[in-house]
């Protein structure tokens, strides 16, 4: 289902209290002029899965969902460093990459292959 960024927290709270309490993954796709962030959540009782999508313009930040799903910690950290999305509401540290400040976020389409290589 497609929602706006403002309804994200409300919608996820609604879903998690109605039984969708297992977060499978938070992922994003780069469509060059905007990003699409997708939350996969699952109901452990009747095994149904639901994906919540929202569009994010370049440079916008994403609210954190860690109070609703504790599993979101690592996923948000990975998302923020791979796509350059700022997470509002808590401080996220880098997870997989090191010494990457000032360089382009790797999973965006505008990333130049080899731009992280400092010659000399």
């Amino acid at each position: 289902m497609k929602i706006n960024k403002e309804e994200l927290i409300k919608k996820l709270k609604e879903l998690s209290s109605s039984g969708y309490n297992y977060l499978v993954k938070i992922t994003a796709v780069d469509y060059i002029d905007h990003l699409e962030v997708i939350y996969f959540i699952r109901n452990m009782q009747n095994k149904k899965e639901e994906n919540v999508r929202l569009d994010l313009k370049n440079g916008e930040s994403l609210p954190t969902v860690i109070e609703i799903y504790k599993a979101a910690d690592y996923y948000e950290r990975e998302l923020s460093e791979m796509f350059g999305i700022a997470i509002e509401g808590r401080e996220v540290k880098r997870l997989l990459l090191e010494k990457w400040d000032g360089l382009e976020a790797p999973l965006r389409k505008s990333f130049q292959w080899g731009s992280d290589y400092k010659s000399g």
Binding site: Y22, V24, K25, T27, I38, M44, Y74
Partner: protein
């Protein structure tokens, strides 16, 4: 007085390069912070620049203990996208090979788990010998012992050799005997029981909230297994039963994996009886433009370590975005909560029972 200990990236006990910064108060753990990323190779980005079947080899190298499971996951995603599905015999062949891969992966886990507990290498050499026999069998089928790259669109690259059934049955009889010995050795050993029972308890609500998966989830009492709930291949016909334990401690996680190995033996035996005749070969690997129909694809498989999921946005010749969900990544994030309050020597029992492979964590 809090001391910080660095359980450094090179360590005889962490199954790869994992750095843990452990804050201790005397002998009790207050906080564990994992630093990962030593083995990050950017598989998701690489796959965007390769044609579909070129990435299969990358996917195998994500988990070097059970490579066939990942290549099966990826090829299944491409099959969903193109609509070329495997026929009946190919489904059975894939199931047999995957279940053998699962036994081999759990055997390696058992050896390294006992290593962590202090049984220096005795159990490790025995289980590695059994895993070696399985790898020999897989070599007869696919041609290599590791990194098989034998999954193709719609089937496998080489069909089962003619005398596969009797070799497999002999190997399964031998493995059943060995599992009885391992159980008798470990479960009657009071020191083993004392080091694993009650250690690292993960309750059911916490397990679901933290998003853990695989044997870790099933050991906490959650009845979920991809092979039954989002069933694929022939698991339904073979009456597959997931193994559940309720305690949620290290011993429960060990028990779940032992039971899974025995369940795999049963599955392989019944699959060998029911396998239909036919041709299990898939399309050749040098496909430049497979006929892609779907825009977005979601595939789930039960890997030996947990549930793996691929979400793929397709393009004509190569994936536009390949998003990979690996089980060890999210299992590691649960370590912080499980290890709080445990004693330092228990940390390795917990870490071993989570079954981490660092390449899985770092993609």
């Amino acid at each position: 007085m809090l001391t910080k200990i660095n359980v450094g990236p090179i360590h005889p006990s962490t199954h790869g390069v994992l750095r843990l910064v452990v804050t201790l108060d005397g002998d009790t753990i207050v906080d564990v912070e994992p630093h990962i990323g030593f083995l990050h190779r950017g598989v998701e980005k690489l796959a965007e620049n390769r044609m579909y079947m070129q990435s299969e080899s990358y996917m195998e190298k994500i988990d070097y203990v059970a490579p066939m499971a990942y290549s099966d996951l990826y090829v299944a995603a491409v099959e969903e996208a193109t609509g070329i599905h495997p026929n009946e015999r190919a489904k059975y062949v894939r199931l047999i090979l995957l279940e053998f891969q699962r036994i081999a992966s759990h055997l390696l886990w058992l050896g390294t788990f006992c290593n962590d507990l202090g049984l220096m290498f005795t159990m490790f050499t025995w289980t590695l010998k059994d895993r070696d026999l399985i790898l020999n069998l897989l070599q007869d089928v696919t041609g290599s012992r590791m990194f098989y790259v034998n999954m193709r669109l719609g089937g496998v690259s080489i069909d089962l050799p003619p005398n596969f059934e009797e070799h497999a049955n002999k190997l399964l009889d031998y493995l059943e005997k060995r599992f009885k010995e391992y159980e008798a050795f470990l479960e009657k050993n009071p020191v083993f029981i004392e080091r694993t029972k009650g250690v690292g308890v993960l309750k059911r609500e916490d397990a679901i909230a933290l998003g853990v998966t695989g044997p870790v989830l099933r050991a906490s009492g959650v009845n979920f297994d991809v092979r039954r709930d989002y069933t694929y291949y022939a698991y339904e016909k073979l009456h597959f039963i997931p193994q559940i334990q309720t305690k949620g401690d290290s011993f429960a996680r060990y028990k779940v994996r032992m039971q899974e190995m025995k369940e795999s033996i049963k599955l392989i035996r019944s699959a060998l009886k029911l396998i239909p005749e036919g041709d299990a070969l898939g399309m050749p690997i040098k496909l430049i433009s497979p006929p892609v129909k779907e825009k977005e694809v979601i595939v789930r498989r039960e890997l030996p370590r947990g549930e793996g999921m691929i979400f793929m946005v397709t393009d004509k010749q190569r994936p536009y975005r390949l998003s990979l969900r690996t089980p060890a990544f999210i299992n590691l994030s649960a370590l912080k909560q499980i290890a709080k309050g445990a004693s330092y020597a228990d940390l390795f029992s917990i870490l071993g029972s989570l079954d981490l492979v660092m390449a899985d964590v770092d993609k």
